[in-house]
Amino acid sequence: MPNHRQKILEQIMIYTVLILISIFMILPFIWMLSTSFKLPEDIFGYPPKLIPQSPTFSNYLYIFQEKNTVRILLNTIIIALSTTLLSLFFTTLGGYGFAKFEFPAKKSLFAILLATMIIPAAVMMVPSFVIMRKLGWVDTFLPLIIPGAANAFGIFFFRQYISTINDELMDAARIDGASEFKIFWSIILPIIAPGMTSMGLIFFMRSWNDYLGPLIYLKSPKNLTITLAINSLSGGAGLTAWGEQMALSVISLLPLLIIFLIFQRQFVEGITAGAVKG
């Protein structure tokens, strides 16, 4: 049956493409891992080896013993966690306000909120720095946590999410005399927990992977974040500590990798909700 043969040929082609793309996707990770266990002289040795000739832990020892990587990780975790929790609080609150209340100027206020999303980072870079300096926030974690705490992206997401909730529960609680904040805290939040997981993961990832923000605001070595630390291991031509840098890169990926593999479905939901439904 020629039709059957054509089907098999089609399948082979599709799998070839998928496997080639998969190799392209996985190769940088594998090479990162491999390089992190190599001695300096082996990194650009010929021929390049996937499994290091003489595997070494020295790169990992170096970044933990000489480079204060524990402190760096702690900084990054503090920034990412406080950003995530604060952003979740303010964006769910804002989303609830827009989803479940009618009030004067609601439409124009929401339009303003959406319009702020098109402002590029480039425009904010200089004046934000000037203001943070005035506030005395330069070289603290605050510029990385506070300004985006009530971001439009999250409020938009939670408005969509909360508007699907039935009003009856809230009305019943109101009749029982619950305050509006209590209704938000003990009725709305438990219902939207899955959405909070999705958005929380995105907030955490963005903060963890941010480079430009820390680059502008964090100055002293004790305040380094993980992305700044990876960059700090690179020098001019021939001066980059590739092995140490890749070891630190592996460390920087592990937390997100574990979180992602556990919460993959929620992650993908958070990414697509804003773009496709909106």
């Binding site: 089609e10 599709i14 799998y15 998928l18 998969s22 392209f24 996707m25 996985i26 940088p28 090479w31 990194i43 650009f44 021929p47 390049p48 303010f90 609150l93 804002g94 306000g97 209340f101 009618e102 004067p104 206020l109 098109i118 402002i119 590029p120 980072a121 480039a122 425009v123 870079m125 200089v126 004046p127 934000s128 000037v130 203001i131 300004p147 009530a150 439009a152 409020i155 509006e180 904040f181 990832m205 963890w208 480079y211 430009l212 502008i216 992305t227 990876i230 960059n231 690179s234 840098q245 890749m246 890169s249 920087s252 990926l253 997100l256 992602f260 593999l261 990414i271 773009a275 496709v276």
Partner: protein, 306 residues
């Protein structure tokens, strides 16, 4: 008794429903206020300040010197800035068509159910998206090293002479495009997958039953139906290609000969490299205006096709 509970409004009328309305609104305004307070302090005020700064000469300290439109006149002669803008356009055409085509094709393949291991491939292709671009940029540099880098060695085995991945103007742009496709393919694919799930599979099936090949069905049925998602991906990619920062600063450092410098890198350099805060503000606003115009043009072009 009921009368006593009804508050008296300023104009003397009694209107319980309006009072309820205002009471409710008070809560709603409280709930949404954090955004507007933070935006006023960290958005609106800085933007106004930046607009003022763009008409001054200011080194970040000392007095601001009003200089009229001098900064904007300077921009016209700023070759590096205009090169960064044209780099943005070049990069856009280098990676966006390939990336979006691949993303849509992969999404269609994975969505069709003819492939086993949907979750495995989706996870793998999406993985770079959660990776920080500092780690990724340096990993790519190792792979693309001219002497004994893995890619050039593999090419050598097939008889191709080493490629100056990061040393040549066009190869550097291609290398940067590779990194961006690697990083963003999964994201775009996931968006396309979500989009595909909103269009009925019956339509493409009907087309194939009517004698269209899968490839014809792809271009004549799937692509037109996916237009809104493709437009969204195109616009975010366009804004993204002008706003590249980390990828460039780790992989190519803007070089060689400014071939991969982007507007954001240029503005950062003016602001924090040479501390010309006034000029940097003027460049940032010019950049914003140009991006805005490009976005509007893209929306118009898309609407005209309907």
């Amino acid at each position: 008794m009921a009368q006593a509970h009804t508050p008296i409004l300023p104009d003397g009328t009694r209107s319980p429903s309006l009072w309820q309305h205002i009471k409710k609104a008070r809560w709603a305004y409280t709930f949404i206020s954090p955004f507007y307070i933070l935006f006023a302090i960290f958005g609106l005020y800085p933007m106004a300040l930046s607009l003022y700064l763009s008409f001054t000469r200011w080194k970040g300290v000392g007095p601001m010197e009003f200089s009229g439109a001098a900064n904007f006149a300077l921009i016209l002669k700023d070759k590096v800035f205009w090169q960064s803008m044209s780099n943005g356009v070049i990069l856009f055409f280098l990676y966006v068509p390939i990336m979006l085509f691949l993303a849509l094709a992969l999404a269609v393949i994975l969505n069709s159910g003819i492939v086993k291991g949907f979750r495995f491939f989706r996870t793998l292709i999406f993985l770079p998206f959660i990776t920080n671009m500092v780690a990724a940029g340096f990993a790519f540099r190792i792979l693309l090293e001219k002497q004994n880098g893995l890619l050039n060695v593999l090419l050598k085995y097939t008889g191709i002479s080493p490629i100056p991945w990061l040393e040549d103007v066009w190869w550097a742009r291609i290398s940067l495009s590779l990194l961006i496709i690697w990083a963003w393919l999964g994201y775009n694919m996931v968006l396309m997958l979500a989009g595909l799930q909103t269009i009925s599979r019956d339509l493409t099936e009907a087309a194939t039953i009517d004698g269209a090949s899968p490839i014809q069905a792809f271009f004549h049925v799937t692509v037109p139906l996916m237009r809104p998602v493709i437009l969204f991906c195109t616009i975010t990619s366009m804004i993204g290609s002008f706003g590249l920062f980390t990828e460039v600063s780790t992989l190519t450092r803007g070089g060689p000969a400014n071939a991969t410098i982007t507007p954001l890198i240029r503005i950062y350099g003016i602001a924090f490299g040479s501390y010309q805060f006034g000029y940097a503000s003027a460049v940032a606003y010019t950049f914003f205006a140009l991006i805005f115009i490009l976005t509007v043009i893209q929306f118009r072009l898309n609407r005209d096709q309907d």
